[in-house]
């Protein structure tokens, strides 16, 4: 499959990588490391237990409280470069509206600019207006009114293409 004079072209050849992995599986190899000139192919199978231990344990641990669970902002960010996340700058209680009777500061679809107040977070009895600090369109609201939020808890998804 790999003709000598062609190997430069196809380090990234999924075909060849696949066949290498097949080999590894077939012979229970845990690691393959190939280098030539500028090129390198390094494949590692299994045996990663120790390194990956921590997350594994998290999974097995007693279900963490919502506040903790929500703390990982990984998911939403993956939605593409034009999507920005407004995160909580503090620990406290999230309020979607200035007072119980009034409307929410923003809804899905609301156009916002950097200084638009998108919510209030109460911390130590103080009500803090939270500005968007990004402009665009609200595409998702990630927390409920009066929900507890911790540091950098994702609050809103904003499409910056406006």
């Amino acid at each position: 499959m790999s003709k000598g004079n062609t190997h430069k072209e196809d380090v990234f050849s999924v075909e060849r990588i696949r066949s290498l992995i097949d080999l590894m599986k077939e012979y229970d190899l845990s690691e393959v490391d190939l280098k030539q000139d500028e090129q390198q192919i390094r494949l590692v199978r299994g045996a990663k237990q120790v390194v990956s231990a921590a997350p594994a344990i998290m999974a097995a641990a007693p279900a963490p409280a919502p506040v903790a669970a929500a703390a990982a902002p990984a998911g939403p960010v993956a939605d593409g470069p034009h999507i920005k996340i407004i995160k909580s700058p503090m620990v406290g209680t999230f309020y979607a509206r200035p007072n119980p009777k009034s409307d929410d500061f923003v809804k899905v679809g609301s156009a916002i600019s950097a200084d638009t107040v998108v919510c209030i977070i109460e911390a130590m009895k103080v009500f803090n207006d939270i500005p968007a600090e990004v402009s665009g369109k609200i595409v998702e609201i990630l927390v409920k009114n009066e929900e507890a939020v911790d540091f950098e808890r994702p609050l809103f998804k904003v499409d910056t293409r406006g």
Binding site: A54, I57, A123, F151
Partner: protein, 448 residues
């Protein structure tokens, strides 16, 4: 009793408090920085709240966020652990004014004892010996000579603006004093732009002995005997033990009673430690009070059988002490080695990083308090302690043998630790004879 407690700390002490709470049926709230997301105290708490990025100044030292975390989690009390905000009387006040219980002394006691001078006067009021010294700065040579007579030779001449031993001089008699005084003043002027100096009794090869105290809100106070922490490197404790290997029984009773007088004098509540230095003639002098639970508290738990963290929580909640002084007996010998991620070969420089594999010693009379495990990465942002190895045996000789066995068994792959150095210390005749002083390690074991 509380339904929910927030632990404003991390690492092994956060885990220690969580363990006590779980055994007492109290729900726990952990706070954590983004660097500790996968840490054991986060994993085992009933709730965990992120309070900021890795740097302590932005997380574990953020009073506002810790209070908010207590508010949104519905905690009733806050345990500060040690370090971070544990002895910050302002934090203590904010916690209480936010209507949470602070599991520790009152802010007033904390402040009084936090200041060296006011602490010294509290001690003197309680008839607790302090290191003799000149009242205030030396005005002239004759004043120096007079106070030196009162203090008793040898005396130490200290620069008021100084610190870290800079510009210090020892004088063994009036002659040397007169000479040394001028040198010291000139040095001080040059070094700190302030020639002010004062005198203090010079203590040769002092030993560090501290007394564990616990008091409730109803005026009951007990001492839980002493810990000897003379084995230090640059004021960092390496090995702690109880009972002290050199203290005569009579002095033990005296020093413990002195500590109790001081604690009662200042109306202290909850757990605290009174630190003394003991000279070669076994005279002891008050140094300071640590107004918190200490790293080495397990040593006392082993020899007294009393759970200090649970007792802290009970008295904070208003319960009276569950024991009288006469109930407290010293049983056997306990010793602790702090296992730090530091490289003795590189002047004990911290070496955070991934623990690739770990074997934890076990067996009869062995306790290992740690948040670490294989796969855990020691973050570079906080102290380098990865665990505390504690042994409890009938005799000190057995404790040393057991500790050596355990340090040999302890296998930490991936990062360097202090374990090998502690084995070296445990084999030193001076240590075995119980004759270490606070400068011994630097003087004898680390001299180039």
């Amino acid at each position: 009793m509380y339904n929910r407690i927030l632990i404003a700390n991390r690492g092994e002490i956060a885990l220690r408090v969580i363990r006590a709470c779980k055994e007492m049926g109290i729900s726990t709230v952990a706070v954590y920085s983004q660097a500790d997301r996968d840490s054991a105290h986060v994993r085992y708490a009933d709730q965990a709240i992120c309070i900021g990025p890795a740097k302590s100044i932005d997380s574990y030292l953020r009073i506002d966020r810790i209070i908010s975390a207590a508010e949104i989690s519905g905690a009733e009390a806050i345990h500060p652990g040690y370090g971070f905000l544990a002895e910050n009387s302002h934090f203590n006040e904010v916690v209480r004014s936010s209507e949470f219980d602070f599991i520790g002394p009152t802010p007033e006691a904390m402040e009084k004892l936090g200041d060296k001078n006011s602490a010294r006067s509290v001690a003197m009021a309680a008839k607790v010996p302090v290191v003799p010294g000149s009242d205030g700065l030396i005005t002239d040579e004759e004043h120096a000579v007079r106070s030196a007579k009162e203090i008793g030779y040898p005396v130490l001449i200290k620069a008021t603006a100084g610190g870290g031993g800079k510009g210090m001089r020892v004088a063994t008699n009036e002659q040397t004093l007169r000479v040394a005084l001028q040198q010291a003043q000139t040095e001080a002027q040059a070094a700190f732009g302030n020639a002010g100096v004062y005198l203090e009794r010079f203590i040769d090869r002092p030993r560090h002995v501290e007394v564990q105290m616990i008091a409730d809100l109803h005026g009951n106070a007990c001492h839980l005997y002493e810990r000897d922490c003379s084995v230090q490197r640059r004021h960092q404790k390496l090995i702690e033990e109880s009972p002290s290997p050199f203290l005569p029984q009579k002095t033990r009773e005296e020093i413990c009673e002195a500590a109790k007088r001081l604690i009662i004098e200042v109306g202290y509540q909850n757990a605290g430690t009174v630190e003394f230095i003991v000279d070669q003639q076994n005279n002891f002098y008050f140094i300071e009070v640590n107004a918190r639970i200490q790293v080495e508290h397990p040593v006392t738990e082993m020899v007294t059988g009393i759970d200090l963290i649970k007792t802290q929580i009970r008295v904070a909640a208003g319960e009276t002490l569950p024991f009288k002084q006469s109930d407290i007996k010293l049983r056997g010998s306990a010793m602790e080695c702090r296992i730090n991620a530091e490289d003795p070969a590189k002047n004990f420089q911290p070496c955070p990083g991934l623990i690739k594999s770990l074997f934890i010693p076990g067996g009869f009379g062995v306790r290992f308090d740690s948040h670490a495990q294989a796969g855990y990465s020691v973050p570079p942002y906080y102290d380098s302690m990865i665990g505390k190895l504690i042994v409890h045996k009938e005799t000190r000789e057995e404790s040393i043998a057991c500790m050596l066995r355990c340090l040999e068994e302890l296998q930490v792959q991936g990062i360097a630790t202090t374990a090998a150095f502690q084995m070296k210390v445990l084999r030193e005749p001076t240590f075995v004879a119980g004759q270490a002083d606070t400068k011994w390690v630097e003087r004898e074991l680390l001299k180039a």
